[in-house]
């Protein structure tokens, strides 16, 4: 009988597929949040496996802040074709073409274009379940996050009102207007994601790989000058550096790291040998409000 064993990756894969199928079966209008990052890539890949040879039975949603990297937009188009999925794109109409991280600051920009935009999109399409690629190992406050995370009709997360989750039985009962966020990658770690990307040969945005890119250094963080909307300070001249990104978000808010890693193997190698944790590259986490507060407010 000993032949019937599953590696940890195959177990994680099976569990994620189980969750994705449960949600597709029990909710009326599920949607998969698609951030164009590597975790989204893994999640999308799992969704495809869950329903093969059929099509993914729900759309993707990209809440577009208009400040993502150019390469991310290119990649988004590519993915829609490759996976034959419908990607709904939502830009908060109230902030469209007006709000930028430069004019409004990172916190306000994120609040309006991302957090508010997401709520608008969910309301607009009447989505009752939204898949997100968050993992429990990302941050201490996520260690207790459920796989099904309940939101009231105002998308608020009430930490006191989350349901116990036992076995692989998920309680999908909600009232009209309420919704859930679902995290099928809850039990994956950063290393698992990379191992899986490698094993499955899943495409990711090239920004994850090191290349010569124009950057400026601000408060110790390397910011890429992705287009000419970025106002340069007096005397600031973009320099070419070989850099890569550990996480992807809005380009003015995402720090690059200097790196030589051009393949997944080399990225993992660097990751394991460096001694700083992953989220440091993300400028917004330095903001005052804690992750817990952001979550209560409907941020992923």
């Amino acid at each position: 009988m000993s032949g019937y064993n599953l590696s940890h990756l195959k177990q994680l894969e099976a569990e994620s597929i189980h969750i994705i199928r449960e949600v597709a079966a029990e909710f009326e209008h599920p949607v998969m949040m698609y951030s164009i990052g590597k975790d989204s890539s893994v999640m999308l890949h799992l969704a495809q496996k869950a329903f093969a040879p059929g099509k993914i039975p729900f759309p993707l949603l990209h809440v577009d802040t208009q400040w993502k990297f150019k390469e991310m937009y290119k990649f988004r188009t590519l993915i829609a074709e490759k996976y034959d999925v419908d990607i709904k794109i939502w830009i908060n109409p109230e902030g469209k073409d007006q709000v930028s991280p430069f004019s409004h600051g990172s916190e306000k920009h994120t609040q309006i274009m991302k957090t508010d935009g997401l709520k608008q999109a969910l309301d607009h399409y009447k989505f009752d379940a939204a898949f997100g690629g968050a993992r429990r190992d990302e941050e201490k406050s996520r260690a207790k996050e459920r796989v099904y995370s309940f939101r009231n009709e105002f998308h608020q997360w009430d930490p006191k009102n989350q349901r116990p989750e036992l076995w692989n039985i998920y309680n999908a009962k909600i009232d009209k207007g309420e919704s859930i966020r679902v995290f099928p990658l809850s039990n994956w770690t950063e290393l698992d994601i990379w191992l899986y990307l490698l094993r499955e040969d899943i495409p990711i945005v090239p920004l994850y790989y090191a290349a010569e890119r124009p950057v400026v250094e601000r408060e110790g963080t390397l910011i890429m000058v992705d287009d000419d909307r970025m106002p340069l300070k007096d005397g600031e001249i973009p320099m070419q550096k070989k850099v890569r990104f550990r996480t992807l978000g809005c380009y003015p808010l995402t720090g690059a790291v200097e790196s030589e890693a051009e393949t997944v193997e080399e990225i993992v190698q660097e990751m394991l040998l460096t001694t700083t944790s992953e989220r440091q590259g993300r400028v917004i986490d330095g903001d005052k409000s804690s992750m817990e507060d952001k979550k209560k407010d409907g941020y992923f």
């Binding site: 009988m1 019937y4 064993n5 599953l6 590696s7 940890h8 195959k10 177990q11 894969e13 099976a14 569990e15 597929i17 189980h18 199928r21 449960e22 597709a24 079966a25 496996k49 869950a50 329903f51 040879p53 059929g54 099509k55 190992d137 201490k140 260690a143 207790k144 930490p159 006191k160 989350q162 349901r163 116990p164 989750e165 036992l166 076995w167 692989n168 039985i169 309680n171 009962k173 909600i174 009232d175 809850s186 039990n187 770690t189 290393l191 698992d192 191992l195 490698l198 094993r199 193997e265 080399e266 993992v268 190698q269 394991l272 040998l273 001694t275 700083t276 944790s277 440091q280 817990e292």
Partner: protein
């Protein structure tokens, strides 16, 4: 340890051969660990120590903790590992809900998921939640205090949730002078009460979470202990035999229909092994088919096993949808709407007998009643407690555990939790608030259980050998003992054919005997009704009697509706394939209903009789009977001739 320095696990391999490193890590397996202990036993310290010593902590996190240790640290040490897991105290201060927290770490042997359950008043709910997915439980004991009430309580909940492996971590050995006697006394105490709990594997390790002794590295101080360290044990404990690989169960989650030619049934294998070509039944409809193809995450495959997420296609177009379960035709779970279960209550609003709830079990959500709370369990003393209040009703409060009788509106396919965690577990959902109120583990179905079901063949019964063989008797009778098994709907003509057949065989000098409802139901099977279980038992006994009579050389004519393929298959097994002649009395139901010799169809239609085959209970027609007799346009005598010809052609009569 005063100066925490950062070391990278397997650094040489990562630098030298990253591909090999990744390869090793891709194939490692997964262990899920539950940690339980009372407040201050050192749980946070132990987990922090594991994370730290297995080098899962980044330098920047460590820096912060070194700073925090000076301010918040609970120890004199420069570095307090408890702070790595954001200890309970801090959470209390911040008013964050006390919940199960999941932590991750890995070594080159295994990936580990820790379900960290705070030792707080909410222990039962949180522990049950955490334990539901874990392979192994770590029970912390403070060496100074030894086995206390909470130790027993935690152990009991682990056993209730079916955890098989336990590690008892006797912590704070530094505070008892690393005393072997103290440790031995604790081991003895723990063993004394735990024997009743049925863990298959219990391991004791003396350690000091704070100082690191025996956590990852062996300890000089505990040189008298020659077992593995805590981490070494976690890396090597064998869990591969924990899964049920015997009873194939595939609860259907989702039906995939990309086009008219493909209808795939998706789900996660709850247990067992499934192969292409296997004969399966869909429950509750009991329709049967064969597995045509199996698709896994990596494409088509020949077989699938427990915990894989798969999609299957079937040879025949039968009705299968979400909430159904595919099972082997010869190994079916219980199908019923009543069962008894151990229920853990998880909500402030108490459970009440007589109240209706929603029950989610595998992929189906069914309304049902909590019919009765039989008794509560006194978790501290691990005993049942009868705690009826003055009105005589029992309620189940938050964090209490009770044995409950459940009655659902629809039947579900289930196994006892002990045999099958996935098909034996359910959650209880409130119909109004939608909240998850409780979790249940099915103990058994509810039927007044005849002793024969439970009792295995006693070791003391030895078959005695007769001096005369079956062949001797058959020679005497000039015939072979065999069973002609007539199956068909009520009113199909089984009895008439049986009587004609008997008459004709006797006329030809053959010793034969009819077994039918009239002579079996009134005596041997007087205690059985018409539920699925009882029908199955009815057939089992008839098969055993037939086999004995065949052994005596007698030709048995068994005339029973015997509607289920699986039952007839087991009858065939009991009697022996070559002596078993399945004859399908094939009469369309319309004709049977028209004949209605005993007025039963009318009663079934009006609802007066329930579970009536063909009307309110399924009849599964044979797929490959030895003989099919269509009685519609045939005289009973002609049917009897047909059967006799068949017996002759098989050499059963001379």
């Amino acid at each position: 340890m005063s100066e925490a320095t950062y070391e990278i696990q397997e650094e040489a391999l990562i630098r030298g051969d990253i591909a090999e490193y990744l390869n090793r890590h891709e194939t490692k397996d997964l262990l899920r660990i539950l940690t339980c202990g009372s407040v201050d036993d050192g749980k946070s310290t132990l987990i922090g120590r594991l994370l730290y010593d297995s080098h899962m902590i980044y330098e920047d996190q460590l820096d912060k903790i070194r700073k925090d240790s000076k301010i918040y640290g609970t120890t004199d040490e420069d570095f307090d590992p408890a702070l790595l897991t954001d200890g309970l105290k801090a959470e209390r201060e911040q008013g964050i809900t006390i919940d199960v927290a999941y932590r991750y770490f890995s070594t080159d042997k295994r990936k580990f998921i820790i379900a960290d359950c705070p030792g707080h008043e909410q222990y039962t709910r949180n522990m049950a939640t955490g334990a539901s997915t874990c392979n192994l439980a770590t029970i912390l004991i403070d060496a100074r205090h030894g086995v206390i009430t909470q130790t027993k309580r935690h152990s009991f909940i682990c056993s209730l949730l079916g955890i098989k492996h336990v590690v008892v971590a006797v912590n704070k050995m530094d505070l008892v002078d690393w005393s072997e006697e103290k440790y031995n006394a604790i081991v003895k105490d723990y063993n004394a009460f735990v024997s009743r709990l049925g863990f298959s594997d219990i391991h004791f390790i003396p350690l000091s979470a704070l100082k690191g002794d025996n956590v990852v590295d062996h300890s000089e101080n505990l040189a008298w202990y020659d077992g593995p360290t805590f981490l070494h044990h976690l890396e090597h404990v064998n869990i591969s035999t924990d899964r049920n690989l015997i009873d194939m169960r595939l609860p259907v989650q989702y039906v995939i229909r990309p086009n008219l030619d493909f209808r795939g049934f998706s789900g996660t294998m709850a247990s067992g092994v499934l192969r292409v070509g296997d004969a399966v039944a869909s429950l509750p409809s009991r329709q049967t088919s064969k597995i045509k193809a199996i698709y896994g995450p990596d494409g088509e495959m020949d077989e699938a096993f427990a915990a894989q997420a798969i999609t299957v296609t079937l040879e025949d177009e039968i009705d299968v949808s979400r909430g159904n379960m595919l099972v082997p035709v010869n190994n079916i779970p219980h199908l019923g709407n009543e069962f008894e279960a151990m229920v853990v209550w998880m909500h402030e609003e108490a459970a009440e007998a007589g109240k209706s709830y929603l029950i989610k079990h595998t992929s189906s959500m069914v309304p049902g009643l909590l019919t009765d709370i039989r008794y509560k369990v006194d978790v501290n003393r691990m005993k049942r407690e009868k705690n009826a209040d003055s009105a005589g009703t029992i309620s189940l409060e938050l964090n209490e555990i009770g044995r409950c009788h459940m009655t659902l509106h629809r039947p579900i396919a289930f196994d006892p939790y002990e045999k099958n965690h996935t098909t034996g577990a359910f959650i209880i959902v409130d119909r109004l608030s939608n909240l998850t109120l409780g979790a249940g583990m099915i103990v058994d179905r509810v039927v007044s259980k005849p002793a024969h079901k439970k009792a295995p063949v006693s070791q003391n019964i030895v078959k005695s050998h007769s001096l005369v063989s079956q062949a001797d008797r058959e020679k005497l009778l000039n015939q072979k003992g065999s069973t002609i098994w007539l199956t068909g709907l009520s009113g199909s003509g089984k009895s008439t054919v049986a009587q004609e057949l008997e008459k004709e065989l006797i006329a030809q000098g053959r010793l034969c005997y009819i077994l039918d409802g009239d002579n079996v139901r009134h005596g041997l099977n007087r205690d059985l009704g018409f539920s699925m279980e009882d029908r199955t038992e009815n057939i089992r006994r008839i098969a055993e009697v037939s086999a004995l009579m065949n052994d005596a050389g007698v030709i048995v004519i068994s005339s029973f509706i015997s509607p289920y393929i699986s039952d007839r298959a087991s009858a065939r097994e009991v009697i022996g394939d070559s002596d078993f002649i399945e004859v399908f009395i094939d009469t369309p139901i319309e004709v049977c209903e028209q004949r209605d010799p005993k007025g039963l169809y009318k009663k079934a239609r009006s609802g007066e009789i329930q579970q009536f085959t063909g009307i309110s209970d399924p009849y599964e027609a044979p797929q490959s009977a030895e003989l099919t007799v269509k009685t519609e346009n045939m005289e009973p005598t002609a049917a009897a001739e047909l059967i006799i010809d068949d017996l002759r052609s098989r050499g059963l009569i001379g």
